[in-house]
Symmetry: C2
Subunit: 210 residues, 2 copies
């Protein structure tokens, strides 16, 4: 039974990504998933319910990942926490790359569902990132002139390989789904963090000394 549900989800991700939500009919969905229309109604009520499920389950899992890292803040340094956020988030996005692409595009629409997702999940995401960045700033591990900009950049770096996969391929000739490219991209993020956010060891000592 759960296999039927998963087949509907997989078919929806493919069709919503290629034909769009409005361009996909329930009939096509059922055909692609090899199920009856009744199965879709049973599990998700309708197409809108299926869309809600995709967005909610994606952000529910993603925010749980950040929450787990956030809870380690008392024992780990802010730097360790931030690096773990990046690593674990990238891993999760990579494992759900087609869904990630759909979800991030959907978020640019103005709808009641999107507002709910933002007030439920993205408010938590902001809270966790902000807490880690502010701890790092306070402990002189980070230099963060603007928390807003730092969070926006982290979010943009994590979502770029998925939301902008075509741009990366066409303009930069990077195939963001290839393992080597993803590894390389993650290294670039870490390099950026080291240069722009993390305070260097000497600098750190200096600041603490002052």
């Amino acid at each position: 039974m759960e296999k039927t549900k998963q087949r509907i989800i997989d078919a929806a991700i493919i069709l919503f990504n290629t034909k769009g939500f409005d361009g996909t009919s329930v009939r096509e969905l059922a055909k692609k998933a090899n199920v009856n229309v009744g199965h879709i109604s049973y599990y998700f009520d309708n197409k809108a319910g299926l869309q809600e499920h995709l967005l909610s389950s994606f952000f529910d899992q993603y925010v749980s990942i950040l929450e787990k890292v956030y809870k380690k803040m008392s024992t780990y340094t802010a730097k360790e926490c931030l690096l773990e956020c990046v690593e674990k988030s990238m891993q999760f996005h990579r494992e759900n790359r087609q869904l990630a692409r759909y979800v991030y595009r959907e978020l640019t629409f103005d709808s009641i569902l999107v507002r709910e997702i933002m007030s439920t999940y993205l408010t938590k995401e902001k809270y966790y990132f902000k807490a880690i960045l502010e701890k790092g700033h306070k402990k002189k591990e980070f230099q963060v002139p603007s928390v807003l900009m730092a969070v926006m950049q982290l979010k943009s770096m994590i979502s770029t390989p998925f939301l902008q996969s075509q741009y990366l391929a066409e303009v930069w000739h990077i195939m963001p789904y290839e393992t080597s490219a993803v590894d390389q991209y993650e290294k670039v993020i870490v390099k950026w963090l080291e240069q722009s956010v993390f305070v260097e060891q000497e600098q750190q000592l200096e600041r603490i000394a002052l």
Copy 2:
């Protein structure tokens, strides 16, 4: 006559942003623009032609702005060029904010039109940004560990108030279309550039000395 064309464009931006491209019919477009369906055919052939016009004209103007700044590279410093790119781009996006929102969302789709836009315009955008960043790096004005990351971040910062306007409003309580918020956001970008890209005066002298 040109007024009719502009009315069609204005109506298309509103309808494509609220109902999506697939969710908008030519009939609705004609009604909203207060024109005959024949006018749409005359100016744009069909809905796809109208979409192509919106994307091409947006990126044509945007890339011209970058090109003008790029041509000043022999007389201005890389820092001055980069700041002017940000200022002029933000101004252009602000003046065309509804179109910008539509255009950036459309770019996340995989289509022949999007590929053409990327290979025509975004390849040029990359070329200009890269040239300015590399000059700054060479002249020790900038520290750029990764050109890819620097370009991605510049692009993301410029498009964020438009593509992510709802996120900024819901989660950060920033109304990105208000003049004060846009000014504030621009200051945050400049602050980021100063901290992450521009080499400080003392650092700069040091590096040159070494």
